[in-house]
Amino acid sequence: MMRRNLVAAAAALAALVLAGCTDQRSHAQAVYLLVDTSGTYAEEVDKAQLIVNYLLGTLQSGDSLAVARVRSRSFSEKDIIAKATFDGRPTQANAQKRVFRDQIAEFTKTARGSAYTDITGGLIQGAMFLNETGAGKKTILIFSDMQEELDKTTIRNFPIDLKEIRVVAVNVVKLKADNIDPRRYTGRLEAWQKRVEDAGASEWHVINDIEHLDALLKS
């Protein structure tokens, strides 16, 4: 009896040591890509496919990726075009990536422009998705001109929560009005930066050259 107790105690100790050795922090990365399909920006959707392909090539097993469109009201799961948490086995992860690639290719062919642009709704939806994944690094990529336009009934003027999430605005093209007065462009970006930082985001970046995205995602 004594010996059995000793064995049980040793096993429990070994389990504790093993559990202690394992790094419990999540090393996975989760990326949520918001693709603006409103107005003239819908023409840029092909570039979004390049970004998705780049992400598919970069993300590893265990990482999560979701692509959602930004429409008149974007706070909805229905706006998520494709999402996946890549399997731990590399072969399975590659198969998932192929399916993902096909889904996005299909989306780019059928994407239609929307009347309004609800970026905030997309951000809230993205934050919810990222927090659910439990990933260690969470990133929201906003593929948009960052010009938010809401209809009268949509309410988005309230504080949002983006704690521990990195927000990156990608391919922020200049509008006609920005060309007339560049301060509008910088003012728009500054306003978004303030809003995102007020929401508790860990970082805010603007990347117009996709090649710079590589260094950011690896950091």
Partner: protein, 487 residues
Amino acid sequence: MGDSPRWMIWPENIALSALILFLVALPFLYAARKPAHDLLRSIGRLADGPLRLAARWLLAAAADMKERNKSVLLAHGREEVEQHIAREFERVAALVKRDLEGYPALQRKLLDEITRVEEDYRKCGEVPPPAPEWVEALAAITTIKSNGNEMVQRVLEEINRSVTEIHEKALVEYRNAYETRHKILDGFMPFWRSLDANLTQADKKLSSLHERAAAIDAQMERYELIVARSDKAEHGLTLSALTQFVVATLVMAIAAGGALINFKLIALPMSEMVGAGDYLTATLRTSEVAALVIIFVEATMGLFLMETLRVTHLFPRVSNLPERLRKRMMWTAFVLLLTLAGIEAALALMRDMLIADKQALLQSLAATQQAAAADGWLAHIPTAGQMLLGFILPFALAFIAIPLESFMTSARTVGGAALVILVRATAFVLRVAGNLLRQSTRALIIVYDVVIGVPLLIEHWVKASRGAAADDAPPATRTVLEVGEQP
């Protein structure tokens, strides 16, 4: 003004302030001369004593360690030489069994051949019978003069004919006899050759035995030196251990390179088995640890294989196992190693497949079309190479047990010698530091006297003028000299 130090009497003139203060302090310094000297001497002794003691203790410890190292080294050397000698005797036994086992037969053969050669030689000695005695009579007849006598002439002719006939017959007999002797002598040749070959063979066998005996003699000489605990033996063994240590380290570094290649081969495919998303530490994936574990298990199996084959002796319990159990253990280790080698070959193949799959995915994701990869048997060479490496490396790693054993045994000697040197060096540094401190305090005493040199000179003059020969307080110059001397 307000920023000047408080001790400055004239804030504008530092030198003058310092001089005034010095002059004020001088009588006090003169009065406190003896206690100040005593204090400085005490400080010197206080610092020097423990340092000297520590240095002495370290030297004693180094001597102890050296003696212990010597004992261990000699014991190890003795064991090694004993093994060498035992091995040499085993070789001699094998030689005797293999070569000298047939020595009686060889001796019999040699004797037979010698007997036969002797007989033949005797036969050669049998010369043909000498010429008959009538030859002398014939010589007498040749002196007879015929004088035209027909009777005598006929008799002489008859004699001549008979003699010629007999001569020819005798000549034939002689020729036959010599021919027979030549034949006998000719028959000698194979026996001589055989005899020569047998003797050469025997000589060769004996010379290899002689070589082994010389080797045993050399080992015995070494053994005697070790038993006598001579410095020569210790020096030789230390040098040998150092060489072994360097060589073993080098070989182990090469083996580590092999293990790294092995790790690279199986780390990626292991992620297919244990998953790529789990981490043990911030940078160490579980799959990488699994790959490392496999390599370590292979090395361990190799270690046990070498141990059970009695190539290495790291675990005395293994070599002392019963023969049957040892063989079982050996086969188990070999089978496990073979299985792991097979698994590695399969993992290497899988790695190639995974890389190809990833490459295909990246190509399909890239906007531009990549050049098609070379197909055919050329494309399979890297795969086959990886598989072969995956299969061979575990067996190559198994041999790491041999340098590991050398490393372990020589590390004790090399580490011990290095420790002795380190301890001695520390003792030397402590001794030097102690001496420096003591000499520094003496120098300080001299400096003190130099500082209060003026009052000391006055004291000296006063005493000289009084003419007091036996004075309690020594003169200033004498004091200055005294403080430099040994206490």
